[in-house]
Subunit: 266 residues, 3 copies
């Protein structure tokens, strides 16, 4: 049988001992796990960014993968620790919207609130459920423990303030949901919304104080330093600069608008 | 049999080829190892910070784990390369205090100075014992080679200038030993020292120029932006800001004092 | 049989979902792989730096290791995706010079252009061949698929503008090709070139505005804060500051000259 795969996504950074502590806890329960980092550099306590990254990376993993995610400003408070079984995966983390986007995308089967203390250490820290609840549950789950034994079923997930783009008569108003390592600006306008809005009409895209006309198919179609719009590898409308950083050129930040305006019908 | 687990902690960063070279050397000796990074972002040549992180993360790993640690400003000089067998683990690295805290915490069984050149490459670099001594010893140890064959026994480890907190009549004077990714300030005052000093008396905690009254049980008990003190997930007194950075609010640095003052007896 | 080892080197950083997507794709094809990061912090689109790091780390891995590298400013354009079989390894990535140094060092056996769409997903993104071409080819290769089935043979690799040092009568003129995490300045002058030039003559080394006399054998021979030259653990002439950063002291950058001048013959 294949080794079970467990991914980790957190806002812990990689300087501290937090991520390694979680990995140690998992390996103590199941030393045969394959542990894969999605990222530990979610902006501190930024649930929306974590949700976007989890929903972007998780679908590429094999069926049966256990995705553990911790961006958890309300740790130790009233928010519930949960396990979500979806069509292909298990998602474990706080019920604060972090898992919702990825879980809905894959198709939710059932949700369990993690309450069974049998699977936790004798003392659960009030500030580090990643180590004391999510990691051990992932470890036992990877050993084949039935998801139902970790706690009671529930039927609702906390919704993420999801930031869908807004359709107006001549404009599609989206926003920057992620700025990547290259300074590319990823918007919340996906291929479907984009096509539905533009149809075959001519359009302009406004980002920062600049106007871009039309789409390129890839970076190679642009000249060095040229500001362009493309549909990126995840299917989102992206603003980029060939061999440069759109973020530096436009001086924008996450949450700033990306506006598509139709200038001629057919 | 389970795959042996080898952890790595260094101050090499993750931009260079150094960490990957060590992993390659280990895998060439034993391709079945599971390699886990504790961190590679110890502040360059900061032995005390490395020792703190190693002692914090190592206890969560399974019995038999081999912990390789390299923060090694004296590499190639008179400091000895060592292997420490403790109750549950093996610690490999330079004898400069880096391993001492973690090894003493787990209980030292015996110490070996790594001198047997049979297990090193023909030419040992004077600047990279991580790749040429510590990695191959970890690889062979993971194959079941007896620790004793790597060199001669010794009985003392270099002590770390450990920075224990100071007990005065009305004050317990500690210092900041680590600032984490969230800007939380971890002090060297642990739960035991703290309870022994405060008993059930009322106290104030001074950090930077601010005074904090009492402890919270977790971040969720605070309002957003509130400066609080808690006992953290490793059992140390920690200064934090709910959904913010105590380091930015207080403008303090590692080594700065954290002072607990008793203001009423019972 | 041992698990196949696949390494990854990119300029993607570790904040985004890109690296994890590649790992997911590989594990979906072959869940038994051992995945090792060389680095994901190559300066964005800096092919020469990537080539240096790949050539420095790759030789330490076991025979049969599959090295996947992606620094790919021309992704989706005319540059070819390739697989290079060398004496000990497989190198997969864009044919833009990135693989050339490492492949030549190990001895090129044959080169295949990756054109067989049978091994790609139905839609290949124009901006992310790492996920849609290089990762799946690595996955299938690790399952034992014959390199020849991925496409047609070719005989030439794009050459890297390799920056060999220049030999003059009294001077050997090199340049800084890498600045590491400690601020050490690695030059393109290797041990062989250095010995051939200096023979047993006395020499001075100029870096930034400072002159260094002679070589040390290691950092420990220097005083704290002293600026020194050594032959580093990869065999290159390196400028360093004991317990400090040569980069900060000299205020130099990658590409700046390192000049060895002979001041007396024999």
């Amino acid at each position: 049988m294949n080794n079970p795969i467990i991914t980790l996504l957190t806002d812990f950074g990689t300087k501290d001992h937090y991520v390694a502590s979680m990995k140690g806890v998992i390996l103590r329960i199941n030393p045969q796990c394959t542990l894969i980092d999605i990222t530990h550099h979610v902006s501190p306590q930024d649930i929306r960014e974590g949700a976007f990254l989890l929903a972007s990376a998780s679908p590429y993993f094999p069926k049966g993968t256990i995705h553990v995610s911790v961006v958890d400003p309300g740790v130790g408070g009233p928010r519930e620790p949960i396990l979500v079984k979806t069509t292909n995966y298990f998602f474990i983390g706080p019920d604060n919207g972090l898992l919702t986007l990825a879980a809905q995308k894959d198709g939710i089967k059932h949700i369990v609130v993690l309450t069974n203390k049998k699977y936790f250490p004798p003392e659960v820290s009030a500030t580090f459920h990643g180590r004391d609840i999510f990691a051990p549950v992932a470890g036992y789950l990877s050993l084949g423990v039935n998801p139902k034994v970790f706690g009671e079923k529930t039927h609702y997930l906390v919704e993420l303030d999801s930031g869908q783009p807004e359709f107006k008569r001549d404009q599609l108003i989206g926003e920057i949901i992620h700025i990547d390592n290259f300074g590319n600006l990823v918007s919340n306008i996906d291929q479907k919304a984009f096509s539905r809005f533009t149809k075959n009409r001519t359009f302009l895209i406004k980002a920062g104080k600049r106007i871009i006309k039309g789409l390129k198919r890839g970076y190679w179609e642009a000249k060095d330093g040229e500001l362009i719009a493309i549909l990126d590898s995840s299917g989102f409308l992206e603003i980029a600069v060939r061999e440069g950083s759109a973020q530096k050129v436009l001086k924008v930040k996450r949450g700033d608008p990306i506006i598509v305006t139709v200038i001629s019908g057919q």
